[in-house]
Every structure is written in C-alpha cells, then in structure tokens.
C-alpha cells in the first residue's frame, strides 16, 4: 500500500489466521514431517555419546571399562536405544529424500529415483559392514 492509497472507513480485515503451535499433531503427514525433523536432536545426542566414549578412552583402560558398564545401566541403555532408533529414522528418511535432492543423468538418460535411493542404501550397507569389521577386528 502506498501513502496515497486514500482513506478507508474500516480497517481491512486480516486474512491470516493464527496457526496453533501444535499444528503438526493434527495430521499423520505433518507428524511424520516433525518426526523427521526432530531426528536432528538425536543426531546431536549421538555425537555427544561418541565424544563421551572418546573422552573415556583418553582417560585410560579403567575409565573405558567404567564407561562401558555405565552404558549398560538400564536407563542409559534405554536412552541410547531411543537415540539409535532416531538415527535410523534419520538415515532412512535422508536416503529416501536423496533422489529429490539430486537429479543424476547418465549421458542423456535420467537415472530413475529408485535407483538413486538404492545406491544410497547400498553405500550405507557397505560402510556399515566395513566399519563394523574394522572396529570388531581392530582393522
């Protein structure tokens, strides 16, 4: 509106309606969106868990064993299971969205979205097996 828009008798009615803070609870689709977005908190928690692990390792063999037995206490185990579950949701939703984020072409032929997602899942599998092997056997 410019300053020359002139006089109106009544204030124009607002078209915007206040959206509830809990809008994402109203539909499963919305809830799934928030579930996907909230994985960020658990990714951060996972990093903290890994860094606590390294910190215990730095303090020596006894501290490492103490930390490992702390991890198997039921409340800590339950919490880390929740963190693990959400990091899995993060991985799955991330790989499912990958084809939308990257459009790959081989020559002139666009690579089908399912194949891009499958490539990510395959990489996930290979990396997981390789890392498990390295950690469990000591490389």
């Amino acid at each position: 509106m410019t300053s020359h828009s002139g006089y109106t008798l009544h204030h124009p009615q607002w078209l915007r309606r206040r959206v509830s803070t809990w809008w994402w609870l109203s539909r499963w689709r919305y809830f799934k969106f928030i579930l996907r977005e909230i994985t960020s908190v658990f990714v951060a928690a996972a990093v903290v868990l890994l860094l606590l692990y390294v910190a215990a390792l730095r303090r020596g063999p006894d501290a490492l064993i103490a930390f490992q037995s702390w991890l198997s206490r039921p409340p800590i185990l339950a919490a880390s299971a929740v963190v693990f579950f959400f990091t899995l949701i993060h991985s799955i939703t991330w790989f499912n969205l990958a084809p939308k984020a990257m459009k790959v072409r081989l020559g002139n032929i666009p690579v089908p979205p399912a194949l891009i997602a499958a490539g990510h899942y395959f990489a996930w599998l290979v990396i997981s097996l390789a890392l498990a092997w390295i950690i469990l056997t000591g490389g």
């Binding site: 951060a44 390294v54 498990a132 950690i135």
Partner: protein, 122 residues
C-alpha cells in the same frame, strides 16, 4: 526468514553433515554403544580402540563427522523451532544457541582427538 550470504554455506554444511551422519552414525552407535550394552557383541577393548585412533586419518575423520553432524543438527533444529514452535521472536537467541552449541561440540571433538593426555595414551 531474512536471507543472509552465509545461508547457502550453512545449507551445504547441513547436507554434508546429514549425509555423513546417515551413513556412519547408526553403525558406530550399534557397534560401540548398543550391542555391547545388550550383550550381543563384546565391548571393544582399550588396546584395539587406541590403535584404531592412533591413525591421524581416523581422528581427522571422526572430527569431521562430529563437527558436520553437529552443524547439520543445529541447522535443522533451528528450522524445526522456526516452523514447528513458531518462535520467531527468539530467532537470534535460537541461532546463537544452535550454532554456538555446534561450534562448542566441534572444539570439544578437536580437543579430545588432537591433544595428548599427560601420559602417552592416545
């Protein structure tokens, strides 16, 4: 949200962190934390883990993973608060806490992995 020149950089860091954490974090959590705690796998020993981390590339990788995963989480959580809870008036505080937290975590990772303890352990 106001567009700032740093935004594209943050989005690419978000992407990199999202990809690295999707590929690497579940298996690390499972092998190091969950499976040993449940008794499904033996807990990795001290000598084994220190020898793995004695390689500078392993430590560098772990720092990159932690730092990028934290930036990813900070960026995503900032937007979750913005969209979900609609706390736009606290935008600056949210930004400082999110990115500040990610920075603090990254510095912690660098400290843990690239400084030596008094005795030559790591």
């Amino acid at each position: 949200m106001r567009r700032t020149p740093i935004e594209p950089i943050l989005w690419s860091l978000f992407s990199a962190g999202g990809m690295l954490s999707a590929l690497f974090i579940p298996v690390l959590l499972f092998i190091l934390v969950l499976a040993p705690a449940l008794g499904w796998l033996p807990a990795p020993g001290y000598a084994q883990l220190t020898s793995l981390l004695s390689h500078p590339l392993a430590r560098l990788f772990l720092i990159a993973l932690c730092a990028l995963a934290l930036v990813h989480a900070a960026h995503r959580f900032r937007y979750t608060l913005y969209d979900g809870l609609q706390i736009k008036h606290l935008n600056e505080l949210v930004n400082i806490l999110c990115y500040g937290g990610a920075l603090a975590g990254s510095v912690w990772a660098i400290f843990l992995l690239f400084t030596r303890v008094a005795e030559p352990r790591l």
